[in-house]
Symmetry: C2
Subunit: 197 residues, 2 copies
Amino acid sequence: MAAITYDVGMSRWEPDAPGRLARAALDLYVGRGFEQTTVAEIAQRAGLTERTFFRHFADKREVLFAGSRALQDFLVDALASAPESATPIGAVVAALEATGPLFQERREFARQRQAVIAANAELRERELIKLASLGSAMADVLRKRGVADPAASLTAEAGIAVFKIAFERWVSDAGEPDLPQCIRQSFAELKSVTAGS
Amino acid sequence: MAAITYDVGMSRWEPDAPGRLARAALDLYVGRGFEQTTVAEIAQRAGLTERTFFRHFADKREVLFAGSRALQDFLVDALASAPESATPIGAVVAALEATGPLFQERREFARQRQAVIAANAELRERELIKLASLGSAMADVLRKRGVADPAASLTAEAGIAVFKIAFERWVSDAGEPDLPQCIRQSFAELKSVTAGS
């Protein structure tokens, strides 16, 4: 698709510039490797300028993690607005299941992103840090909901473990299950393994 | 205590040089901050040379993580030699409990180490990566023991969550509980929170 640009006063408005840049970046990361790809190449492939790239992303690594903040905000809101009657783990799992629509129709993107991350130690570390940060944010909300420690921390850690395993399955399973279903199964499995001592 | 050195042929044997360097490093990290401490200062405080420091540690960060490899090897061995009749989570928790003697009499060191790590983003990330690596190693052993995924991954993740929370409690609790006891309590709590959905 050719790049369509509109002149809006002094600057240009690029329709879905972040999406096009992310798509171009991922194609290049998959095709030639994350390390070998430059921002100039990403911009060129997206039919945009490097300047536009840097208006949306701090560097080529951030293309892969730009959604992390939105995911965290979504989970925090979902958890904070869970009914008071919900158990801590019930509220966490429901919040995780509610992320389904955020990822729907992005499974192929998520799958390729996961492969790029798996191939690079620095990116794997960044992904771990992102997950840990999600866990801390959820534990904070649980504390605000009156859950004491260590239950708050353990519930959040359990939620992150469930999400991590469910997400891996969702992106890799040939049967293309939906993400909320993977989360419910992963949680059922966690209950089953922790019960078996 | 003055540094005692022995001439052994061309080189010198420094009794417990790594221990003295680690102790000196931690004193400085706590006293003036990790960033502000140099290897020269650590060596001087330990009564040793910088060259001796670099014979034992790659850099000042590694002083804090030198025990990680030994811990991982210990856990892998303990898990691999668990009785066949043990459930996966039972074997993981028993292996974690068995680390108690490794840390005993090192609680003050562990407490100070934790404080230094908590104050520095780069060190917190390194600690997360270390824990994730422990989890991967335990999941590998479980797979070799015939546990299928996702149970292997979830059991290892659950074990890491239990260990993390237990260790934090062990270093910070004024009642000075022992580590295996904290691990048992943390595991009981995880069972309780995951059951409550």
